[in-house]
């Protein structure tokens, strides 16, 4: 055997000899195996949970969670689709001995039925026929606040009631002080719909009789 081979062999012997004298300490091995057993126990516990509750239980819970999520999604999607009830401007008429005409102006979410209001519409058209030359016309009246509505009296010609919901839609002047009786000028359009109310420049003088 030549020298290099001898040297290699000598190295290998020294290596193996030294290695045999330095083995992994038992406490390290034991600690590792203890840790491994704990991991194993944890895994068995997990597996045991699945066995106890079964895949069906897991599936049932998943279904429940999915249903809840779906309901939430539907609720979210349907929210903006909910019909927004629009307000309709309605004018109704009634009789009062003190006035020639009594009009009730209200904002209602009930869609007006043209057939049942046919007479009122005809009356309104008739009444407005004399005003066709102007798109809007203004009248002066005395404004008073009542418990649930405002009213405007135009001598004994007209009593006009306006409900509070409708008042939010009308162009109201900031000078209006409904707490006190006030002369106002109210503007209507060709259809008789109240457009605006503002303080009157002068009170209305009613002719007697």
């Amino acid at each position: 055997m030549n020298r290099p081979d001898q040297f290699e062999q000598q190295l290998q012997q020294q290596y193996q000899h030294d290695k045999a004298r330095h083995v992994l300490p038992a406490q390290v091995k034991n600690a590792l195996l203890k840790q491994a057993r704990q991991n194993q126990a944890r895994q068995r516990h997990k597996a045991g949970w699945l066995c106890r509750n079964g895949w069906q239980g897991l599936w049932r819970n998943t279904q429940l969670a999915l249903c809840c999520a779906l309901l939430l999604l539907l609720g979210y999607l349907l929210q903006p689709v909910q019909p927004h009830s629009p307000l309709y401007y309605q004018i109704s008429y009634s009789q009062d001995e003190a006035y020639r005409q009594v009009q009730h102006h209200v904002a209602s979410n009930i869609r007006p039925q043209r057939q049942s209001n046919a007479l009122a519409q005809a009356q309104q058209q008739y009444r407005l026929s004399g005003e066709q030359s102007r798109a809007f016309y203004a009248q002066t009246g005395l404004l008073q606040q009542q418990q649930d509505h405002w009213q405007i009296k135009v001598c004994d010609e007209l009593l006009l009631t306006i409900d509070k919901q409708l008042l939010r839609q009308i162009d109201l002047s900031a000078d209006i002080t409904p707490q006190f009786a006030q002369w106002v000028e109210f503007t209507s359009d060709a259809a008789g719909l109240l457009i605006a109310i503002k303080p009157a420049a002068a009170p209305l003088h009613c002719s007697q009789g």
């Binding site: 040297f7 190295l11 290596y15 030294d18 083995v23 390290v28 195996l33 895994q43």
Partner: protein, 192 residues
């Protein structure tokens, strides 16, 4: 259960490291891990011991095997299990040495140092230790590493994989390491 343990224990002689690893990964049965530790635990610990010290070797060994416990899918099968294990251990060791500021990058292409001065002085200092360990300690880290891995039975290609260096570099390290050991041997024989 006792029977299955008996069967798995009985059949263990035929399992390769890779098979044992796969069995442990799939079953988490500590019996397979125990066999893996028996097969490679000592070699790994000895490699780490000669590259650092007893405390660090114990710590890194533990870290390595714990990595196997916590991430059982870590071994991808691109090399032998032992190569993978030593690669992981080397990374852990170098990280730890860097953390402790004990890692010095050594230039493998540097010429062989004069063994009549520095290594001999080291040998004198370590007279109480075993000659082999002292000679190994006299080697630079990377040369010692290459030599240790070769003596452990790794091929050039495997050492190259573990150390992430080309085979030529590994050959150079081995050559330098053996030259130095031969000189140290001669020197120590003369002293004796």
């Amino acid at each position: 259960m006792a029977l299955s343990f008996f069967i798995s224990g009985f059949g263990s002689k035929d399992y390769s490291s890779e098979q044992l690893y796969a069995l442990y990964r799939d079953s988490a049965d500590t019996a397979f891990l125990q066999q893996l530790i028996t097969l490679h635990g000592d070699a790994l610990y000895y490699y780490l011991l000669r590259q650092s010290d007893r405390q660090l070797a114990e710590d890194i060994s533990q870290q390595c095997w714990l990595k196997l416990l916590e991430q059982p899918d870590g071994f991808g099968g691109n090399s032998s299990f032992k190569t993978w294990l030593f690669t992981v251990a080397r990374h852990c060791l170098i990280d730890e040495l860097r953390r402790r500021s004990r890692w010095l990058a050594e230039d493998i292409t540097a010429p062989l140092v004069d063994t009549t001065t520095c290594p001999l002085q080291q040998l004198n200092v370590q007279q109480q230790q075993q000659r082999w360990a002292a000679q190994l300690n006299a080697l630079p880290f990377l040369q010692r590493e290459a030599l240790m891995l070769q003596l452990e039975g790794f091929t050039l290609a495997q050492i190259s994989q573990i150390t992430a260096q080309g085979e030529e570099t590994v050959k150079s390290r081995l050559r330098y390491a053996k030259q130095m050991l031969q000189q140290l041997n001669g020197a120590s024989n003369e002293q004796a």
